[in-house]
Amino acid sequence: MKIHLCILLCFLCACNNTQKNSNTLRLKLLRGPSSIAFAQLMESQPVIDGMVLQTEVVDSPELIQAQLIKGEADIAVLPMISAVNLYNKGVTYPLLGCPLWGTLYLVGRDSSATMLHLFGSGTSPDILTRYYLDKHKSWQPKLNYTFGSARDIMMGIQTGTVETAVLSEPFVSMALAKDSTLKILADLNRPLPDSPGFAQTAVVFSPKLAKFRKEIDKLLAASCKFAVDNPEQAIRIMEERKVFGKGMLSKSSIKRCRINYVPACEAKEAVSSLLKIILQYEPKAIGGHLPDSTFVVCAD
């Protein structure tokens, strides 16, 4: 009986493979454009104060949220709205920086379509699309959420069931490459032509790493620069590590991801303007209120 119980316990414990090793720092990346920005870190595995920075690519924002709630991440990259929502609900991972400045584009043949397909009701793509349409009153298509993801919408475009849609990278570049009649109708990340974009992606960190903040900032900034300066290398790393399938990424898709690491302190204004828009359109998405001042703190 005891042996059976021991075997059962072994099986149950085997399910938890995220045990913390005191000599590692766990960086959780979301499968998608944000992981491109940190391709270099996946290969180099730098050491901070004797701790190896280990990256792990996670499939969905929900899984990253769960890992943050359970304290299974030291640094995590996730949508800004999820980061703020968690912070407002007591999961105190403050903002470290913003690595991406928008990957959302409105794609189609012309702006006369009566139906606009988009994904992620209540999330960034939905909110930023509604914000864009409110700014451009001349075109008011009906919003259709029947496709669950950008990938599904891109397949819809290829099969002809979708004419005009909101897509994120790398699906924007993939769709444009496969159909030359398609074009980018609008850049949803730039409310104004001279705007740096929306701080849609957040890097958050455990407060216990505060003393290494500058060092981490430097590493993250270098990794983002590497992706921008060496897109072929970044693509190779992504494909080798099966973060993206072969042929999914291109130089132009990396360019459209607008990768540029900005530390939290410098991104304060941009974060604030995005959160105000979200609060206006979908307050629940960030927990009903703006985060307090401790969410964005500057390095000493």
């Binding site: 999820s82 407002n88 609900k89 007591g90 999961v91 209540g122 999330t123 959420y145 669950g148």
Partner: protein
């Protein structure tokens, strides 16, 4: 009452444990306390979206259940009639039952619109469960009860509600309960993954997207509550028993058998085994015939040929009757779901009002010395008591012909003698033609006007 207190106590303990956990974690946004949950539940119930979402999910569930039920009944009828077809489709049903629900959902996500997915998932989950249960139910129907219903010419409504439905009911409701349980969870899972605009699952997914744990838990409680109510509803439905439908007024038209029942060169064989060969006899109206022969010589076969449930392989039979034949079969053939008295009244329902039928049934119960067990169900009676209910049913039935196959089997001699005396008394009044089979020389002597040896 005690059960309700226990349930309330159990729910109370669960809520207390939850409240303790919430206090321990101390992150109300992620692990809300019971008061927070109640407030969230209240605000949900006050919103219009709540009703739209609940209706959408319920609509999908009920539509899926109805479609699955109708198609399962059709396939079960086909399977029960043809075992080869059942054999052909059984692996498919087993496969459908074994495939994880998530596989159906993932495949459906590729090919269907989000609104269609939960409904299709409901159907795919419920259909195999229902069709397998209903097929088993139909295959377990006791054919002898259908023979009894046919010989007594019990009308279709009573045949279904009193003979078929009670036998099918355990299989039907077990299938419905499993299908509803699995289907409900599958629909909600389908709604979560397909993210259709309305539905409990869609609301749960939205709450999860926004990390609104109290709302997610409130929707979970709502889903559990609806499932519980549905389960209770099915349970209540399964307890409903349909009463015997009687005539609004007595309408028995006196019918007489032909002057005689004439059998000419009747033969019957089961495959290569011949049990009756060139049997000829004229059974005169109003006489009592006893048939005697060693086992396996065709006594029961002869009665079945006379009552029309068997066709002779050769020969001719001349007999007319208009409304069934009073019969005591080789075994009692009683319906266990109704009382002994109702078993006697059931064939009478085609001719009489409830009062009259029950009056006749009570009278024959008394004649058979069964007053004490009249309101018991047959499966709680001894074999002898069941046999006497079967004799009472046959004697009460208004037919000019009475067939009895070893009617006094399982009765002690003095009791059998008293019943024979009652049958003879009745015969003096109604002048039925009685043909019975017996091994017992005493029975033949006491009851038969004429004994025929096969």
């Amino acid at each position: 009452m005690k059960k309700n207190i226990q349930m309330a106590f159990s729910i109370g303990i669960m809520f207390l444990a939850w409240e303790g956990l919430a206090l321990m974690v101390n992150k109300p946004a992620l692990v809300p306390g019971v008061p927070d949950l109640v407030v969230t539940l209240g605000s949900l119930i006050l919103s219009a979206n709540f009703y739209l979402s609940v209706l959408a999910t319920l609509g999908r569930g009920i539509a899926g259940l109805i479609l699955s039920g109708v198609l399962a009944m059709c396939t079960a009828l086909l399977f029960a009639r043809n075992e080869n077809v059942y054999g052909l489709f059984k692996p498919l049903l087993t496969l459908m039952r074994s495939v994880p629900v998530i596989s159906f959902i993932l495949l459906a996500l590729l090919f269907l619109q989000p609104e269609q997915i939960p409904f299709i998932i409901a159907f795919l989950t419920m259909f195999p469960l229902l069709s397998e249960n209903l097929t088993k139910g139909l295959l377990h129907l006791r054919p002898e009860l259908s023979v009894m219903g046919h010989v007594f010419q019990i009308n279709r409504v009573n045949h279904f509600t009193q003979i078929v439905y009670p036998q099918l009911k355990p299989f039907l409701f077990s299938g419905l309960a499993s299908a509803a349980g699995f289907g409900w969870r599958a629909i909600i899972m389908g709604e979560v993954l397909s993210q259709c605009p309305l539905g409990i699952g869609s609301e749960m997914k939205r709450a999860q997207n926004f990390i609104e744990v109290p709302e997610l838990l409130a929707w979970t409680l709502i889903a559990v509550a609806i499932s519980f109510v549905f389960d209770r509803g099915l349970d209540a439905l399964s307890r409903i028993s349909y009463p015997i439908r009687y005539k609004a007024e007595d309408n028995l038209h006196e019918t007489q058998a032909t002057q005689a029942i004439v059998l000419t060169k009747i033969s019957h064989s089961y495959g290569k085994r011949s049990v009756l060969k060139d049997f000829s006899h004229q059974f005169e109206k109003g006489r009592i015939y006893g048939i005697s022969a060693p086992s396996g010589w065709g006594k029961t076969t002869l009665l079945n040929i006379i009552n029309g449930t068997l066709k002779p392989t050769a020969g001719k039979i001349e007999r007319t009757d208009t409304h069934g034949i009073a019969s005591v079969f080789q075994e009692p053939y009683l319906v266990n779901q109704i009382t002994g008295l109702d078993n006697i009244a059931l064939p009478l329902a085609s001719f009489y009002t409830k009062e009259k039928a029950n009056e006749i049934a009570s009278h024959f119960c008394k004649l058979m010395e069964l007053e004490e067990v009249a309101h018991h169900h047959p499966d709680t009676m001894s074999y002898g008591q069941q046999q006497r209910i079967a004799i009472a049913r046959a004697l009460a039935f208004p037919s000019s012909l009475l067939l009895m196959d070893e009617p006094f089997k399982g009765l002690d001699e003095p009791l059998a003698a008293r019943i024979i005396q009652q049958i003879r008394k009745l015969h003096e009044i109604n002048k039925q033609t009685i043909i019975f089979v017996s091994h017992q020389p005493d029975t033949l002597t006491l009851l038969a006007d004429e004994t025929i040896k096969l």
